[in-house]
């Protein structure tokens, strides 16, 4: 079984994003970028399936301009067997990424795609499900546990009310939730080795995907700020304010 793990390089989760002063977009200049945390979880899940003898190869792929290769290097250092870079210009919409990934899945004859449930930059949460639809594959989103036996998958997924368990067959798309696993760290020797590994380059054109923007970002701005609050000194004062000032406790 071949597993494909799409990865995205995003602003590090510990850094607060700011808008460009003209409001045209997000100001990322000079800020620390990292692999999307959900993609690290996806890669870890794929690596564990391979280490358990259930997968033959783990391929990672990233779509975008030159810097996305940094993310692929990280994925290689963590243990991905191969890395594919789909060169594509500009900010890519989820549907475009799904189309690029579909072409890669077909070309590489992948059986299982494991990807993050969302990227923590645009928080769209669409790509995995779109890819599953384009391939006419089943999906199990928000996975908290994956069991695999041949072509049968059992996935426990997080839902709004708790969890549910789905039984499905490969080929399939799984998207990862936070509690699926705790990703490993890359060791220094592996980081060094990953620098020398080849990254296969593909282009949107060669994959037969035309890129047209269907969404236009008109403005990016800070949301309304909350009025500053106060410190209280005691439980009595807190309750008094909640009852008589805020009137949220009766």
């Amino acid at each position: 079984m071949k597993i494909l793990v799409p990865v995205k390089r995003v602003l590090d989760y510990a850094i607060k994003a700011r808008a460009k002063s003209d409001g045209s977009g997000v100001d990322l200049a000079g800020l620390k970028m990292s692999l999307n945390p959900f993609d690290e979880i996806a890669l870890e899940a794929a690596l564990r399936l391979k280490e358990a003898g259930l997968a033959s190869e783990v391929i990672c792929v990233s779509c975008g301009e030159t810097p996305v290769q940094e993310g692929l290097r990280t994925a290689l250092a963590l243990g991905a067997d191969r890395a594919l870079w789909v060169e594509a210009p500009g900010e890519l919409e989820p549907l475009t990424v799904a189309k690029l990934l579909r072409a890669v899945v077909v070309q590489e004859q992948v059986d299982l795609v494991i990807c993050g449930k969302q990227a923590i930059d645009d928080d769209a949460g669409q790509t995995g499900q779109m890819l599953a639809a384009l391939l006419d594959w089943s999906q199990a989103t928000q996975a908290a546990a994956i069991h695999c036996e041949g072509s049968r998958l059992e996935v426990v997924r997080e839902t709004d009310g708790g969890t549910e368990t789905l039984q499905l067959n490969t080929p399939a798309v799984i998207t990862t939730d936070l509690r699926l696993n705790e990703p490993r760290y890359a060791t220094l020797p592996n980081i060094m080795k990953a620098r020398k590994k080849p990254i296969d380059q593909l282009t949107a054109g060669a994959l037969g995907v035309t890129i047209t923007a269907r969404l236009q970002t008109l403005r990016v701005a800070e949301p309304p700020v909350r009025a500053p609050g106060i410190r209280v000194n005691s439980v009595e004062q807190l309750l008094d304010l909640l009852k008589n000032q805020a009137k949220v406790v009766s």
Binding site: R18, A98, D123, Q129, T141, E158, G161, P223, V248
Partner: protein
């Protein structure tokens, strides 16, 4: 009359309408068009009666044994059968909505918009990005718009239709096959507390609670004294203090209660993403520099093990 808009409803495990539907209708109302609601499932008679009293013009019903379990794959097939009739398709940005709407969008080659918090015009929407640190105003150039709605951001559309709601039973030539089997469901008991999504008061706990036992022993009685729901930070869920469906934040649930009490929660941006719309935020934390105090309306510095029992006792015996 302009093209109608479609709202796809979601059912509770008891087969009733989720209250969030009213908020999605609130968003749909901003589009100034006829609103149709689609119910998908099996043996829907009770919920149909309920839905016929909504402030909408038409109720569409897809009732078939293959739809008894809500799956992204089957939901997509049903909505696809009628999607061409509508200018907009809206649903809640819930676990279910997040599952099927992108599938539909891809099959129809439509770029969709996730998790909107405002509608500026029928083609322009506001949505949070980067854990809600920023809001993007996005124009959708597609002729048809597929949109998931952050329900806490819209006022519910209450009341009933003044005209009788017409009913249409869908009969598909090919009802979807069921590609995935749901073999188990674990919904944790609600302990008689309101659902986190719609609670007027939420008491949330973080790593500071220290254990699952302390989490329930300290926060349970406080939530009950306030008739509120329990919530949790990611750390509290990861550590097993609270079940996953209580996680509040960027990658958990978004809440908008009148009162949100954060106990032993530091206030990471990922957590704050889920509580920005709360009317009043109270923080109880022993670290005076915890970022949660930056957003709290009322902050109380101290040990939660002392403060929380005092607060609960004062509420019970004023």
């Amino acid at each position: 009359m302009s093209t109608p808009v479609l709202v796809v409803a979601e059912l509770t495990s008891d087969g009733l309408l989720k209250p969030a539907l009213r908020s999605v209708l609130g968003a749909a109302a901003a589009l100034n068009a006829e609103i149709h609601v689609l119910l998908i499932g099996h043996q829907l008679e009770t919920v149909i009666d309920e839905a016929l009293r909504l402030p909408i013009t038409r109720l569409l019903v897809a009732d078939h044994p293959s739809l008894a379990v809500p799956l992204a794959e089957t939901t997509t097939t049903v909505v696809r059968a009628i999607s061409q009739r509508y200018s907009h398709i809206l649903t809640a940005a819930s676990a279910q909505g997040k599952g099927w709407l992108p599938r539909l969008a891809a099959l129809e080659d439509v770029a969709m918009i996730s998790d909107i918090v405002a509608i500026e015009s029928p083609d322009t929407f506001v949505r949070p990005i980067y854990a809600g640190s920023l809001w993007a105003t996005v124009r959708c150039l597609e002729p048809r718009k597929f949109v998931s709605v952050r329900v806490t951001a819209f006022s519910p559309l209450n009341g009933a239709s003044s005209e009788p709601v017409s009913r249409e039973n869908l009969s598909l030539d090919d009802w979807p096959a069921v590609p995935v089997i749901r073999s188990a469901v674990h919904e944790h008991p609600d302990e008689g507390r309101p659902a986190l999504e719609n609670a007027r008061t939420v008491v949330s706990g973080g790593r500071g609670l220290g254990s699952a036992e302390q989490f329930e022993a300290l926060l349970g009685p406080l939530a009950d004294a306030l008739h509120g729901a329990l919530g949790a930070s990611r750390a509290a869920v990861d550590l097993g203090y609270a079940p996953n469906d209580l996680q509040v934040g960027q990658t958990g649930k978004v809440v908008a209660p009148d009162l949100y009490i954060a106990v032993g929660i530091s206030g990471a941006i990922q957590h704050l993403a889920g509580i920005q719309a709360a009317k009043v935020i109270v923080a109880i934390n022993k670290d005076p520099d915890a970022p949660i105090f930056g957003v709290a309306d009322y902050g109380l510095v101290g040990d939660l093990h002392e403060i929380v029992p005092q607060l609960t006792a004062s509420l019970k015996n004023p």
